[in-house]
Structures are given as C-alpha cells and as structure tokens.
C-alpha cells in the first residue's frame, strides 16, 4: 500500500504540473473593450494585466515594467496586451472612479495617456499613505487632455453606465476565470492555457523576458 502511494505521488504532481492552470475552453473569456487592447490581435501569446488605479504596486508596474514590455513585445507585435480593471474598492475608495475616468478617456481615444497619467499622479489623489487622499482624479486627468476632450470625459464619467459595465466584465473575468486576489496580476495566455502570475513586480524584467520568450518559442 505504502509503495503504491509512493509510486503514485510523483505521478500526481506531474499531472498537476502538466495540467493547464486554467483552461480557457472551460469558460470563454469575456470580450474586453477595444481601447483596452493593444499589440497584434493575431499574436500567439496574450498578456492580460489586472490593475487597480489606487494600488502603489500597480503604479510601479506601469512606470517600471510597461515601458520596456511595450517596446519589446507590444510595438513589435509579438504579444497581444489587454489591460483589465480590478479595483479593490474595500481598501481603495477612489479606484472605481479612476477606472471610470480611464475608460471614459478610452471611449474618446485617449486611453493610454490617461491611464499613465492617473498612475503617475497617484500620490496626489490616492488614499494615504500612498497619496494625499484628495480623490482629485479629475485634476490629474485634466493636465493631459485638451479642454474639449476633458469636458466630454467629465460628461461620460457622470452619465455613462457602460463605464462600470466594462469594469464589471473585467471583475467577472478576474473572479470566475483567472481567480485573481491581488494586483498587479498578469495572466499569460498561450495554447489555450491561462497562467496567472501575481509576483510580477518581485522579479527582474530579464527573468520575465526569459519566461515570455520561452512561451513565444512554444516551450
């Protein structure tokens, strides 16, 4: 009996390792709003990034990881990138509003610039101790948009229910498909397999690059 168990143990672990972390086929991914998608739509590898605008590690993710990643993989068309909202409103009271501003700007074609600005100015509006807790996301966004576009963004933020729908869609993906519980978490999707990685900010970019290049090579 003991010998049988011993023989079975490595087999069980092997099967766990070879089994996909989350099969994409089990639950079809929800469509993301187009402005949240960049890179090549036909790329064999997709990277989804779940972030919360009020999370300091997410601000670091956009300041430190994204510029290099964009240059190496998005602009070269090697990877499809999807930015998904995961506002943890229990501890980040302004995160949902920040997502509304970003998504409203996205509707008008200013998504990337506003996302970067909201993260960049986090210390001005986010909850303490990361920021001054003013909640003045409007002031931060207004610095990078032309006045006409800013006015339209304000109207959309006040009235457009689709902005929350976009967030809800991403949250449903996070909770039901990718099982996310912290931000930033990225999900690397290749060969129908979804691999969530929550420790992305703890590793040097070069190590992540090795991993992603292995995925692109089909390993």
């Amino acid at each position: 009996m003991m010998r049988t168990l011993l023989l079975l143990l490595p087999a069980l672990v092997l099967s766990a390792q070879t089994a996909p972390v989350h099969k994409a086929a089990a639950v079809s991914p929800a469509p993301s709003t187009n402005f949240k998608v960049s890179g090549s739509p036909s790329a064999t590898v997709e990277l989804d990034a779940y972030t919360d605008y009020e999370c300091p590690h997410c601000a670091r993710f956009f300041a430190e990881f994204m510029p290099q990643f964009t240059a190496d993989y998005i602009k070269t068309g090697k990877v499809k990138f999807v930015h998904r909202d995961f506002p943890i409103t229990q501890i980040h009271p302004h995160a949902q509003l920040a997502a509304r501003y970003a998504n409203a700007a996205g509707e008008l074609g200013f998504y990337d610039i506003v996302v970067n600005q909201i993260f960049k100015m986090q210390d001005a509006w986010a909850i303490a101790p990361y920021g001054k807790n003013t909640g003045d996301i409007d002031g931060a966004v207004a610095q990078v948009l032309p006045p006409g576009a800013m006015q339209k963004v304000r109207e959309l933020v006040k009235t457009d229910p689709r902005l929350d729908e976009s967030v809800k869609t991403d949250m449903a993906m996070a909770n039901n498909v990718d099982h996310i519980n912290s931000t930033p978490t990225i999900v690397v999707i290749s060969n129908g397999k979804r691999e969530p990685i929550s420790t992305i900010m703890n590793m040097p970019y070069s190590v992540f690059k090795q991993y992603l290049d292995q995925k692109l090579a089909g390993k």
């Binding site: 011993l6 143990l9 069980l12």
Partner: protein, 152 residues
C-alpha cells in the same frame, strides 16, 4: 516493561512526526509545481538575496527537491539523514524569512504558493515545522543509537 512502552511510543511518535513532515514538503512542492515556474521565481526574487541568473534554475528545481524529500521521508529509508536534510532546509528557510521580516520587506512567503504574506503567523508556522523536523531528527538518531549492537 515501562521501558518497552516508552520505546514503542517513541517509535510511533517518530513515525507520525516523519509523516507530517513529509506531507508538509509534498504539499509545498505541489503548490509550487501546479503554478508556472515564473510565479515561484517572483517569490524567490522578492527576498532580494539571489542573483538574477539563479532565479530560474532554483524556481525550476527547488519544488522537485521538496517533493523528493517528502517522498523519501514517507518511505522511511535513511530516515535520520533525510530528517536531518529537512531540518537544515527548514533552518535555511526560516533564517531567510526572519531576516526579510526584520529588514521590513512586505512580501509573500512563497512557502505554499502565492498569496501567503510574510508575517508573524507565517514565521510561527515555519518555526513549528522546523521544531518538528529537529525533534524527528534527534529522535531518529537516538533510536538508531539505541538499536546499535553493543560489541564487547
């Protein structure tokens, strides 16, 4: 008679301790192996102790080493030596965790996969595991010594 009962009890406690220790290593290995290696590489990187080049090879091999140690402990072969290896490994893990906690790193322990923040609870848990490993190791060596035939 009393001595025999004590010896029997010691033997049973040693088996129980060894199996618990084995289960800990198997569960820890399983939690790491079911996730992509890059996730554990991130956990290792968070401790800020290893050079970049070491993260990938260690993330790929350490979980298998833990599994092998768990299986070896279940089998009972060379019990005292494998218990000693477990003790040394857990001492190393605990020292690294304690150092990270003292210097104020806000990181995941990485012991049983992601989402396990390093703090007093994880330190207490890992210290208990280390204490168990040390007890099993000492018990195994003592038992072995008592079983050695006395040559006159």
């Amino acid at each position: 008679m009393s001595r025999l009962i004590n010896q029997g009890n010691l033997h049973r406690w040693l088996i129980a301790g060894r199996l618990i220790l084995a289960a800990i290593f198997v569960v820890a290995a399983y939690a790491k192996l079911k996730a992509p290696w890059i996730e554990f590489a991130g956990s290792l990187g968070a401790y800020e102790l290893l050079p970049d080049w070491a993260l990938e090879p260690l993330a790929k091999t350490l979980p298998w080493a833990e599994l092998a140690l768990g299986v070896a402990l279940i089998s009972g072969i060379w019990q005292r030596w494998f218990a000693l290896i477990a003790s040394l490994l857990l001492t190393l893990f605990f020292a690294v965790m304690l150092r990270s906690y003292i210097v104020g790193l806000k990181i995941d322990c990485g012991c049983f996969g992601p989402g396990d923040a390093l703090g007093p609870k994880t330190l207490a848990r890992d210290f208990s595991m280390l204490a168990l490993a040390v007890i099993v190791t000492i018990g195994s060596f003592r038992r072995q010594n008592k079983m050695q035939p006395v040559v006159a």
